[in-house]
């Protein structure tokens, strides 16, 4: 019997938004895409909504990334004349820096490692990750071990570089 979509929505929506945010790095867009994924689930009524949702979300994020790449030139042009940054609290600035560093660290991972890590962090089980990525279940632990190690290393390397640059 298929899981009740309403229940999945309750338990998985926030995780799906986070999952998407770490791909598109835009909170509004991430929420939009998550809602779009659920809207599609309402139409398709998949047997395994949770897994289905993450697959659909990952695909949408990939399309989004392609589109973003096409628009990057334009965005670069825009950012050159962007408005001066609004004065933010130190806390907000620091949180933003953290986000940026994690984002850069995630970018240092291979796409497969990153995908597995993000799916795990979104609450997916090894079984679910395996079925969504096509990896053997036995390979998930190894992939996660590598992904975590690289993430931490890349993050610390980035921070070090920043400190060196500052000092």
């Amino acid at each position: 019997m298929p899981e009740d979509l309403a229940e999945v929505y309750k338990t998985t929506y926030a995780a799906l938004v986070r999952f998407l945010y770490r791909k598109v790095w835009d909170a509004e867009r991430a929420a939009d895409l998550a809602q779009e994924a659920f809207a599609r689930a309402l139409v398709h009524r998949p047997g395994n909504p949770r897994g289905w949702l993450f697959v659909v979300a990952a695909n949408m994020a990939r399309d989004e990334a392609r589109r973003a790449a096409r628009e990057r030139r334009h965005l670069t042009l825009l950012s050159q004349e962007s408005e001066p940054e609004a004065p933010a609290l130190d806390e907000a600035i620091s949180a933003e820096q953290d986000r940026t560093r994690v984002r850069q660290a995630l970018a240092a991972l291979t796409p497969r490692d990153r995908e597995v890590l993000l799916l795990w962090d979104a609450g997916q089980s090894y079984d679910e990750i395996a079925s969504q990525t096509g990896l053997a279940k036995g390979a998930i632990g190894t992939t996660l071990a590598r992904a975590r190690r690289r993430l931490v290393e890349a993050y610390e390397k980035g921070s070090e570089a920043e400190h060196v640059a500052r000092g």
Binding site: A6, A27, F38, A39, V102, S125, G141, A145, R146, R148
Partner: protein, 377 residues
């Protein structure tokens, strides 16, 4: 048993090993110091990675998730309730109001002379009666009937003559609207009067001197609108006007049709003004034009995509730029509105060196005012 690989350690720590695998691993770790240490390291690594990912979350408060059923496409019809009706009703009311205002604005701007005449004729108010009504009667007998000209056509036709007329008319339309507003609910009788006025109007080129009554303003010499039963469809009352009144009429925000003025180079402009034209420093000058009638130059500068016009004329030149232009004016404009307009006008004009500079452009008044402060000789 061999040592445990990283993948299995992570799977163990993630709780993803089967009970059999868990038991096997724990047995080994209990006996293997190295694997125990590694287990601790991997646990720390997993914590660290999770914390890092925890920093990569959307900033600010999370957007609340809409109810799932609202994501359905197309949205399912909800029961009709009053709360659901309120919004559309509010919108409908807004649209009705907008259309209504547009209608009245349209009516009053296209039939300004007629409406005010109708007023004079059939519903004289104190100020109108004082200045215009008797003159209307007088003009009745002496004004020749001119060829009928629709107001809007006339407006277009006279555009090249000078901005003064057009801006004047805008101001007049505004005034007329203000005056018409209280009578809005008497729209039907008003229209009837309009039709009557249409039929009874005759344009008049009565000179200011022909007006004995000019109590509205000592400086404003108005020609009275001439009204008489006639077959002329509609008409416009032309009249000359004194400087002060004209300046009062000119709203700084109104359209001045300077685009028809001939372009002028910087040097002749300086000669004309007796000083270098004032500009807002740091912005490109798009063009300079001169008033074909009098000593006035407009400098057009592009600011943030908008074209801002700096109208300027020599301080010593007492003649207003409009003086050279024939003025079309409503016969019954209250003095108060003139004063108010004059004040507003002053606010957006400034003396820069030996020039009086007036600013106009498609920007909010406070922006224009700030830009005006930046103007330098």
């Amino acid at each position: 048993m061999s040592h445990v690989d990283d993948g299995t350690l992570h799977a163990y720590l993630d709780g993803e090993l089967s009970p059999v695998e868990v038991e096997r691993l724990e047995t080994h770790v209990a006996a293997c110091r190295g694997c125990r240490d590694r287990l601790d390291e991997e646990r720390a690594l997993i914590d660290r990675a999770a914390r890092l990912l925890g920093m990569a979350v959307p900033p600010g408060p999370e957007r609340a998730a809409p109810p799932l059923h609202e994501l359905r496409r197309p949205p399912p019809p909800r029961p009709w309730t009053w709360s659901r009706l309120r919004m559309p009703l509010a919108w409908a009311a807004t649209i009705v109001a907008a259309v209504g205002i547009g209608y009245f604005a349209g009516v009053s701007s296209f039939s300004i002379p007629q409406r005010s005449l109708a007023r004079t004729e059939s519903q004289p108010t104190a100020d109108v009666a004082a200045s215009s009504a008797p003159a209307a009667g007088a003009a009745d007998t002496r004004s020749p009937v001119l060829p009928a000209t629709p107001t809007d056509d006339e407006l277009t036709a006279t555009q090249p003559l000078g901005y003064a007329q057009a801006s004047d008319r805008l101001a007049r339309a505004e005034t007329d609207q203000q005056r018409q507003a209280p009578a809005a609910n008497a729209a039907e009788p008003g229209r009837e009067r309009d039709q009557r006025a249409d039929a009874s109007l005759r344009p008049s080129a009565a000179p200011p001197a022909a007006l004995p009554q000019d109590r509205a303003s000592p400086t404003l010499r108005e020609a009275a609108p001439a009204a008489a039963p006639s077959s002329a469809a509609s008409g416009v009352i032309s009249m000359a006007q004194s400087t002060t009144a004209v300046r009062g009429f000119r709203d700084a925000n109104s359209v001045r049709l300077s685009t028809t003025w001939p372009a002028i180079a910087a040097k002749p402009a300086r000669d004309l003004l007796g000083a270098a034209p004032a500009v807002i420093p740091g912005f490109a000058v798009r063009s300079m034009r001169r008033n074909p009638g009098v000593k006035e130059v407009v400098v057009e500068q592009e600011i943030a995509g908008a074209v801002v016009s700096l109208f300027q004329r020599p301080l010593g030149d007492t003649r207003a730029p409009e003086e050279a232009q024939p003025i079309v004016i409503d016969g019954a404009v209250s003095r108060d509105s003139l004063v108010a307009k004059a004040r507003r006008n002053e606010r957006l004009a400034r003396f820069v060196g030996s020039l009086r500079v007036e600013i106009a452009g498609p920007l909010p008044a406070d922006s224009l005012s700030r830009l005006l402060d930046l103007v330098r000789p």
